[in-house]
């Protein structure tokens, strides 16, 4: 990102939240995905999962740095990652759920990366030039994530009886959390108004169009719709989030002010 491209004033508080939310998604999913390192089903997949986690953490660093600048309160990427409590995190609940098994891990990345991909595409033309630059870099990463995880969803869904059962269980578990992607929010309104980024609710049809054929190819059946709406992006998280943060933030919390 060149100096010239850096946008340093937010058009609205919603603008800050919009960017922060994206940074939190990448951070929290990166943290989860990195848990696999050293524990994957096969060495090759250790490499692949670590690469995806590295991409996500890289995205988180750029997005949180940018959010901090827009916010103008002097918080850098680490202040935002390590000094906020649960309600201040705005990631989608889907990102913080435990990995459980390889099926849930890959399916989550498949669902999320397809959403992220749509977002990056729209953000290429954001009026926030820094965000547009981040999108240009990240979109390539998201494409690879979508491909790698999507291939795995098909292998597992259409593999053995056990893998199919696990893939279906993963879908049943994760699917209700995907509705959260598209819940309208005030931050979205403000960001869309200023041309920063799309209303997430407008991405629903495209996302379904990307996800349905994948699930069909994987021979997985869509769970029936449920009324439940998770609220992570509004700061109301699952029980898992506190544990994730307790672990992630521990050093910064017990050594306040220390540099690393």
């Amino acid at each position: 990102m060149t100096e010239m491209a850096q946008q340093t004033t937010a058009t609205s508080p919603g603008h800050v939240e919009y960017v922060m939310r994206m940074g939190d998604n990448a951070l929290i999913l990166g943290q989860r995905t990195a848990e696999w390192c050293g524990h994957s089903p096969v060495l090759e997949e250790d490499m692949a999962l670590a690469n995806m986690a590295l991409d996500l953490i890289g995205q988180a660093r750029m997005l949180l740095t940018h959010a901090g600048r827009l916010e103008g309160r002097g918080r850098d990427e680490d202040a935002l990652a390590f000094q906020r409590n649960e309600p201040a995190f705005r990631n989608l609940t889907l990102c913080e759920l435990p990995n459980e098994d390889f099926a849930r891990t890959m399916l989550r990345i498949a669902l999320f990366s397809r959403f992220q991909l749509l977002l990056w595409e729209r953000l290429l033309s954001s009026t926030d030039s820094e965000l547009a630059a981040i999108a240009a870099k990240s979109i390539k990463e998201a494409r690879y994530h979508a491909q790698h995880s999507g291939d795995w969803v098909v292998r597992l869904g259409d593999g053995t009886e056990e893998s199919h059962r696990r893939a279906q269980a993963a879908l049943d578990y994760l699917w209700p959390y995907t509705a959260e992607f598209f819940i309208p929010s005030a931050a979205d309104e403000a960001a869309a108004e200023a041309g920063v980024g799309p209303l997430w609710s407008t991405l629903e049809a495209d996302w379904e169009a990307a996800v349905r054929p994948l699930l069909e190819e994987a021979m997985l059946s869509l769970p029936a719709p449920v009324p439940f709406r998770s609220q992570g992006k509004f700061g109301r998280h699952s029980e898992h989030m506190g544990h994730l943060l307790a672990e992630m933030q521990y050093l910064q919390r017990i050594h306040p002010g220390a540099r690393w």
Binding site: P41, L64, E77, S163, L251
Partner: protein, 334 residues
């Protein structure tokens, strides 16, 4: 990351029966090639003992890289900044890559990765005992990079010229990556030493715990090494354990001064006459205890590897089942 226990005796993990007949003419050709500093390639004739030794050495090395992911992996989720998290994750991932390059090199000798994995998980194969020590603080990550990867580099550079081509080429690739490992470790420690009292104490404590195990990584004294002579003859060991250890200690003392930490050996002293640092007696009983399974983490490390392998069985199976189905479908459509 690493090769230590290379000279340690153990059963061979591989399955291929010695199919190559011994033949004096071939042997002479092989010897001449080695003497001329040439390379042996996978399909060349080689003495069965050479092949077996290589399989043992390369696979022990590969296992060490893979088990070596665990102690540092223990800190990925707790790395104190996002930059350090990314660096550590990339580093641990590199170690996985090293394991992968090395398993691939071993496979050129006619033994499958599954067989080698089985030898590790069943406890028959050895790996570097350094990874049976626990990582107790963030400073351990830095100290492992500095000392453990540092010792590994010393050990591995000579192997870039070892006589077996695929092993030598894997080592070239690995050595390129290792220098990042050592430097990131030292950099993390420098930062800590400029920090708070608690951070400096953390570093000193980590150095106290890792120093002796690090210098044990070079293996037993030359006088106590079992296969050194033969391995040197074969060009798969180029420099002796004691020489490498001395070289490492000489280099490290100065680095410790720059860092401002004390190496926990009161006998560490420059010897003008030798032109080297003298150092205290290594506790070989401790070394052999850990090698023989009685370190703090031996059980946990193997259990973690076993769990990953067992929990992943259904994934590996599913992928093959899917590939078979897809192939059958393609055939039916043709």
């Amino acid at each position: 990351m690493y090769t230590q226990a290379l000279d340690l005796p153990q059963q061979n993990p591989e399955g291929r029966p010695p199919s190559l007949a011994e033949n004096p003419a071939w042997q002479a050709e092989f010897d001449a090639k080695i003497d001329a500093g040439g390379f042996i390639e996978p399909k060349d004739w080689m003495p069965e003992a050479y092949r077996k030794t290589l399989v043992r050495q390369i696979s022990q090395h590969a296992h060490s890289e893979i088990v070596g992911m665990l102690p540092e992996g223990n800190w990925i989720s707790r790395a104190p900044t996002l930059k350090r998290k990314a660096i550590l994750l990339a580093k641990v991932q590199d170690e996985g890559g090293h394991g992968l390059y090395l398993y691939a090199a071993a496979e050129t000798l006619g033994v499958s990765r599954d067989k080698l994995t089985d030898a590790l998980l069943s406890g028959r194969a050895k790996y570097s005992s350094i990874f049976n020590y626990p990582t107790l603080s963030w400073a351990d990550v830095g100290v492992i990079g500095w000392l453990v990867d540092g010792a590994a580099i010393m050990n591995q550079i000579p192997l870039c010229k070892c006589s077996y081509g695929p092993y030598a080429r894997a080592m070239v690739r690995i050595c390129k990556e290792e220098s990042f490992h050592q430097r990131q470790g030292f950099d993390a420690l420098l930062q800590l030493m400029q920090g708070t009292e608690a951070q400096r104490e953390m570093v000193q404590d980590a150095v106290n715990r890792w120093w002796w195990p690090s210098i044990m990584m070079f293996g037993p004294h030359d006088s106590d090494s079992t296969h050194t002579g033969q391995n040197t003859r074969w060009g798969i060991k180029r420099i002796s354990n004691d020489d490498l250890r001395q070289k490492f200690i000489d280099a490290t003392v100065k680095q410790a001064e720059v860092l401002g930490v004390t190496l926990p050996d009161p006998e560490l002293k420059w010897n003008e006459q030798r032109g080297h640092y003298d150092f205290g007696r290594i506790d070989w009983e401790e070394f052999w205890n850990v090698v023989n399974g009685h370190g703090q983490c031996n059980v946990d490390r193997l259990a973690a590897r076993r769990k990953a392998w067992d929990d992943g069985a259904w994934v590996r199976e599913a992928a093959m089942a899917h590939a078979d189905k897809a192939a059958r479908r393609a055939q039916a459509a043709a």
